[in-house]
Symmetry: C2
Subunit: 357 residues, 2 copies
């Protein structure tokens, strides 16, 4: 039976990096007889230009029907001044929410070949391998009511709401524990339970879920302390699970510890492991169209897709292995380049991974 | 005319480090004829033990009457399981809110003598000198409504509210711009305006305030990017201004970049520069009572007090200078100790600063 993959190149460098990832996906498709059929559509600014909205209804229907989605990146200065309601990010938030992609996996992994690129001392980050599990469809990102208004005294005010229900917390906690079980069996749940009502419930529910995972060593940490500990001693962490906003902040901080954010993929999964896969980095409008962007995070997102949505472990491993081979060969795009390595463009890098595969 | 200083030693290492800071304060008081009168009370766990609440009404009245407050730190495992409504942190939040201490100044400064203690590479942090201005009495920390409840389907849910009014944003933005004016004239305002209604208002109001500060170079950054940039290239920042929750996270991250959080003071100011001064670090219950805690952050908090609440610039500089001298002498408490330095306890460190003064 064929599997449908919807490809959403997006904005900025999106189309360039996705093109390379698609090459890799097609080679894997042939080699491992995965039966994938690819179709294309737009998300973000490109969708605003084509459909007038950052996520068209027909695109959403295609995404629903697909077995997995490969996304480039969205956003750019071109759409910075349009009506906030149709900004590119809105399309991203809507597809996450409408498809119920609540489980966001963001690895922060230091590639030994790129150790020098980190701004942290080598001994602090050598061997770093953290997985951040971020809740992606709840919390303050989507909470209602939210409003901007003028008070009776003429002053403007605005507010957002940060809600979490037991079931939302339970399902993301389970993802955290499940990931810990196949990794180092350590889970750190991050909240601000000394201040927030939603965090107090978060902590209580995580404790309940923990009963089903006696093998996992669970700890709790306040978000301010977590932001410190990631800088001080990041290797203390195995899996971290946290809410939408804290996960946004901490996963970006953690990815930057590796010094090679151009290498980091991500997965956003629903309850049945249907997923959307995208690089952790953004659309980098400043280098778009120049053919110099690093496609490896997007290529590794394909590997995550094979692993999580299709349980094609062999093919997933092969792609990761191929990426490691090109790094060993000394090939580097500008963002990860260092003295003594060979600087290559987006396409050369993609071709090298295909060759290694 | 005499000036009243209320001293709140708090919990854990609080009493030990405050004792040393008070020595320094008294020497400065004599030497510069500041006319300070000190009185003592309790906050946090110590207040729970004495009054049954983490901030007693009489303590609050004393704090209102005082010209400045010196605080140690609050919290500890002893009070972790009590009724959340009277946890030590509640006392801290209440005194901030009741005294209108909305302007929280948190410097992240790398002491050249301690450069090796940072987990970041020396070239990334050498000369680091950031000031984070955190809004301290609004936002999600105090927003109403907030509630934990059981839904009709039997599920628990909880929510918090993140509100900001124009006047709240305006006054903290002014603090940010004022600080930038006496420093490097660069202000970075941090928000999440691509997602939050409150952040959109934040950004708009900061832009309005900017009109009164044409000399200050203003930029805006999303909080996730700010968390990354602090790791990647922290020296790009001069002053950062942000809301209560983002400020909590980013100031802790920034302070840890210096590797010497035991060195960092903070000030929380009201509209008339009346302030509460405390170290950035916590109550460190694990080392409480051992006489090994680093008193320098609290001593430097006294320096901030003299500078911001009493405009005693000479005395403030003298204390900073004295701290620098003891570091030059090679004296170190355990948290900042490195090979070749002399390890000293809390009291010895305090005495050395007094001697240098
Ligand atoms: C673009 C933005 C809305 C988004 C988010 O905050 O979730 C991005 O920062 C991310 O982390 O994927
Ligand atoms: C103890 C806690 C409530 C407090 C806060 O979050 O404000 C602390 O982390 C701080 O930053 O002063």
């Amino acid at each position: 039976m064929s599997k449908q993959i919807l490809v959403l190149p997006g904005d900025g460098i999106g189309p360039e990096i996705v093109a390379e990832a698609v090459k890799v996906l097609e080679v894997a498709n042939d080699k491992y007889q995965l039966g994938f059929e690819l179709s294309y559509d737009e998300l973000g600014g490109a969708a605003v230009d084509k459909y007038g909205v950052p996520l068209a209804d027909e695109t959403l229907e295609r995404a629903r029907a697909a077995d997995a989605i490969l996304l480039g990146a969205v956003g750019g200065p071109k759409w910075d001044t349009i009506d906030p309601a149709i900004r590119p990010e809105r399309g991203l938030l809507k597809i996450r929410s409408q498809l119920g992609l609540f489980g966001n996996l963001r690895p922060a992994l230091l590639y030994p070949q790129l150790a020098a690129a980190s701004s942290l001392k080598p001994e602090i980050v050598a061997g770093l391998d953290i997985l951040i599990v971020r809740e992606l469809t709840g919390g303050i990102y989507f909470g209602q009511p939210r409003e901007s208004k003028v008070l009776e005294n003429g002053e403007r005010m605005a507010y957002d709401t940060l809600p979490y229900s037991e079931s939302e917390i339970r399902r993301i906690a389970k993802v955290g524990f499940d990931m810990a079980m196949v990794r180092g069996k350590k889970l750190c749940s991050v909240d601000k339970a000394n201040v927030l009502a939603s965090s107090q419930l978060w902590r209580a529910v995580v404790e309940e879920v923990a009963k089903d995972y006696p093998e996992v060593e669970l700890s709790h940490m306040y978000v301010d302390n977590a932001a410190m500990q990631l800088v001080r001693a990041p290797k203390q962490f195995d899996v971290m699970v946290t809410d939408n906003m804290f996960g946004d902040i901490l996963s970006d901080e953690a990815s930057m510890l590796t010094g090679s954010i151009g290498m980091l993929p991500s997965a956003s999964l629903d309850a049945n492991n249907k997923g959307m896969y995208e690089p952790c980095h953004g659309s980098a409008p400043d280098i778009a169209g120049k053919g110099i962007a690093n496609p490896l995070a997007t290529i590794l997102s394909v590997s995550m897709m094979l692993r999580y949505s299709f349980a094609q472990v062999e093919a997933a491993n092969a792609i990761e292995q191929a990426v490691s081979v090109v790094l060993d060969q000394g090939l580097r795009t500008g963002d990860i380049w260092s003295e003594g390595c060979q600087k290559v463009g987006t396409r050369e890098m993609g071709d090298a991974v295909v060759a290694a595969l």
